[in-house]
């Protein structure tokens, strides 16, 4: 197909381009990201179509877990066979015994069905997965990650998940509305993410957790987090506010837990596949590369840090991100392992 003659409307109508904006599969996303790099002359049309389509992407409203469970129970009752028995007095006992055995079997089956099963979700490199947890909370799991939980979350019980890799959490508030402070809330209304030495406890918020190679960082977007770190027999705790980042490094266990203000949107931008800059200081972008990607960044031209960036760059892949940053800033980007130079 000849994409180079594409107008905004052609992009809009293109099913593959729509799938890219919807973020449905990795192959389509990388195709269009690469396409943009190769066809910079079409960037205006590309971005206009992307902006229009992004506005239309919606989420079905969460259905309350209680409603769903009630309806499911109703349907299960329908599925269960209703034995109709007419029994003469003479044959009553064997039938009662048989009925009793059937009930016992159903009971055992039900008990086994209800017994806790552990759930585990994994992603491959460059794959993202959207998960709906039993309480209606949502998780976007980034590539190369793993999320575990026990499958028997009953309403009114503590919610716990174990994360390796990176995930963005949109947690449902299940506590009574008067409970607003996570620090004083009872554990049965909390949602806790265990990531390495760190426990992230919340009531209902949106936040990003990244736990890779001994390095854990947590960025809060809305609400409140009670973060605890357990190591060497003692526990440290901090309370986080929106826009704050806390990071820990297994290599420096003595470093105290400290909070820093960051642009929280940057740290969850991987879920949408692009970073949006709006008159953003380059210094903030460099901070993101350091904290978000664990890179060591050297900027050879200090004037660069004074500049501001506006626009949208693809970020699902670090190479693509660095490449387009270099182009936007008109600088050479070199990378050796975890070290990046902006010349």
């Amino acid at each position: 197909m000849n994409y180079t003659a594409y107008s905004t409307e052609d992009f809009l109508a293109d099913e593959s381009f729509q799938a890219f904006v919807l973020g449905h599969d990795v192959a389509t996303t990388s195709f269009w990201q690469q396409w943009l790099i190769e066809n910079p002359g079409k960037a205006a049309e590309f971005h206009e179509a992307q902006t229009i389509l992004r506005q239309l992407v919606g989420r079905p409203q969460p259905v309350s877990e209680a409603l769903k469970q009630e309806e499911l129970a109703k349907f299960r009752r329908y599925l269960q066979p209703k034995p109709v028995l007419r029994v003469s007095r003479r044959h009553r006992w064997p039938v009662i015994l048989a009925a009793f055995s059937v009930m016992l079997l159903i009971g055992i089956g039900f008990w086994r069905y209800m017994a806790p099963t552990n759930l585990q979700y994994n992603t491959l490199a460059h794959q993202q997965r959207q998960l709906l947890l039993p309480d209606g909370s949502r998780v976007v799991l980034n590539g190369n990650s793993e999320l575990k939980l026990s499958g028997d979350w009953a309403p009114g019980q503590a919610r716990e998940v174990w994360l390796k890799g990176e995930a963005y959490f949109i947690v449902r508030h299940t506590a009574p509305a008067r409970l607003k402070t996570v620090a004083t809330a009872p554990s049965n209304v909390k949602f806790t993410v265990h990531a390495g030495p760190v426990d992230v406890a919340v009531l209902g918020t949106q936040f990003n957790v990244r736990h890779w190679a001994g390095h854990t960082n947590v960025v809060l977007r809305t609400g409140q987090i009670q973060l605890s770190r357990h190591q060497a027999g003692h526990t440290e705790q901090v309370l986080m506010k929106p826009g704050e980042l806390v990071s820990t490094d297994a290599a420096r266990p003595q470093a105290p837990l400290t909070k820093r203000a960051v642009k929280a949107d940057f740290y969850s931008a991987w879920t949408s596949g692009h970073l949006d800059f709006n008159d953003t200081p380059v210094a903030d972008v460099v901070a993101l590369l350091r904290d978000g990607y664990g890179l060591q960044v050297t900027v050879n031209n200090p004037n660069l840090l004074q500049q501001n960036l506006t626009g949208s760059v693809p970020n699902q892949d670090l190479e693509v991100l660095l490449n387009s940053l270099g182009k936007s800033l008109d600088v050479q980007v070199r990378r050796e392992g975890q070290h990046v130079w902006l010349d």
């Binding site: 809009l12 729509q18 919606g58 079905p60 259905v63 409603l67 769903k68 349907f75 329908y78």
Partner: protein, 190 residues
């Protein structure tokens, strides 16, 4: 085929071989999407709940004649849509309202439903909603299936009983109309 679609297809095969638990699992897996779609079409929560129950009960009763299908979610959406068409026709007749238009629903949107709602200002949201509300109800439904449930054109065609080209046109004309409105807003805004 995505992993979720594969999982559903496997459950469907187990259901066809008579396993009740597999059908209950499909019920649970697709309940939220079906409920939201039904609500979008009719705005009537009780009606939607009943229709989903009826739909699955009917599947169970007819399990021996149920065919193999490719995409379970699209099949369920189509079946729910049929149920709702029948139900709303009956309701309208019972209430002596206007003759029911064949299979058309008032699909309405509210701004909280859009993923980027938090990042856009009230004025822009109002414009977008106004643009969407000018569209035909079929266009609105097709947009919902495309951008909320992520169905490809081919599956939207299956759900709405149209051909793929008609869906393509519906969505494209809707997007053109929305672009027109948004363009005006950019021109005004800056």
């Amino acid at each position: 085929m995505t992993a979720d679609e594969q999982h559903s297809a496997q459950l469907w095969e187990r259901f066809r071989s008579g396993e009740a638990a597999a059908l209950a699992a499909l019920f649970e897996l697709h309940y939220e999407a079906l409920f939201n779609y039904g609500l979008k079409l009719t705005g009537d929560e009780e009606l939607v709940k009943d229709s989903i129950q009826n739909l699955f009960q009917k599947l169970w009763r007819r399990r021996e004649g149920v065919r193999a299908i490719q995409v379970v979610k699209a099949y369920l959406f189509k079946a729910l849509r049929h149920h709702l068409v029948d139900e709303t026709k009956q309701l309208k007749q019972q209430r002596y309202l206007f003759p029911a238009p064949a299979d058309s629903f008032e699909v309405t949107y509210s701004h909280e439903e859009f993923l980027i709602a938090e990042q856009t200002d009230a004025e822009q949201q109002a414009l977008l909603l106004a643009a969407i509300n000018q569209l035909s109800s079929r266009q609105r439904e097709a947009l919902y299936l495309r951008f909320f449930d992520g169905f490809p054109y081919e599956r939207i065609a299956e759900v709405m009983s149209l051909n793929t080209q008609s869906v393509r046109n519906l969505v494209f004309n809707a997007l053109k109309a929305i672009r027109k409105v948004m363009k005006v807003s950019w021109a005004l805004g800056g």
